[in-house]
């Protein structure tokens, strides 16, 4: 006859009881619960602050691009799209040059990195 069939119970450290031979359901204490919630909140707030830290400069630049005055006022006193309208052909050339540079450098670096990393991965790892 097993302990379960006899219905024998034992008292657990928290004061609750469980059948002998049964794995008791673990319930965290209140202090543990508070600690868990606190650590969860800290991680969440740290993540949020990191995202803000990363995105804030971009947001400021985007807002600054709508400024009428040639100054770095955030938020601008007067909003305008004139800076977008006055893009000169010289800037298009710079765009094209930047994209050419980026595309060529990306393609060449991948083309060189594939055999290099293949060699490193297969000989060292």
């Amino acid at each position: 006859m097993t302990a379960t069939e006899t219905g024998a119970r034992r008292t657990l450290p928290g004061g609750s009881t469980a059948l002998v031979g049964e794995v008791p359901e673990l319930r965290p204490g209140r202090a543990q619960w508070i600690l868990d919630r606190l650590s969860h909140s800290v991680v969440w707030i740290a993540g949020l602050l990191s995202v803000i830290f990363l995105l804030a400069p971009m947001v400021i630049i985007v807002i600054a691009s709508f400024n009428r005055a040639p100054a770095l006022d955030v938020p601008p006193r007067q909003w305008t799209l004139s800076a977008y309208a006055n893009i000169s052909p010289a800037l298009y050339e710079a765009f094209v040059l930047s994209l050419q540079l980026a595309a060529m450098a990306a393609a060449l670096s991948v083309a060189l990195a594939v055999p290099a990393s293949f060699w490193v991965a297969r000989t060292r790892g």
């Binding site: 060529m104 450098a105 990306a106 060449l108 060189l112």
Partner: protein, 141 residues
């Protein structure tokens, strides 16, 4: 070979290559060696094994690393300034001169926003392609 576009490209590749190698290494290590050995045991040459068995399994990693290199290089400033000698007018140099010499912050900001959007679109398209490829491979297997 300095003060021209070729020098800037070489210098930029030199700067980005370590990042690309470090980014690709885990991708290469993840390809099971058994695939390569199976291909070799079935008579495939080393080149065939590399190009038809090994490389297709790393294409998504290559795309991701290429995008990382693209995004890093699109806004490169130091290398074009030092190796371009003022003759290679990329956007970052124009932004710098707008912000420091011309003191036209809105124009510099516009250039930054447009460059950001272009890089973002390029990365989105490339990652979309990689995801499409993964979906196609999962459907076929």
């Amino acid at each position: 070979m300095s003060n021209n576009f070729t020098a800037v490209v070489i210098g930029t590749v030199h700067a980005v290559l370590p990042i690309a190698v470090i980014g690709l290494m885990p991708v290469m290590q993840r390809v099971p060696a058994s695939h390569v050995m199976a291909a070799r045991s079935l008579g495939a040459s080393e080149w065939t094994t590399f190009f038809r068995i090994f490389l297709p399994q790393t294409v998504n990693g290559c795309v991701a690393v290429g995008m990382l290199a693209f995004a890093t290089t699109a806004g490169a400033f130091t290398t074009p300034v030092l190796l371009g000698g003022g003759r290679v007018g990329v956007l970052s140099i124009l932004m710098y001169s707008d912000a420091t010499t011309a003191l036209n912050y809105p124009r510099a900001a516009v250039l930054a926003v447009i460059l950001f959007v272009i890089v973002l679109l390029t990365v989105a398209v490339s990652l979309g392609y990689a995801r499409l490829r993964v979906g196609r491979r999962e459907r076929s297997s």
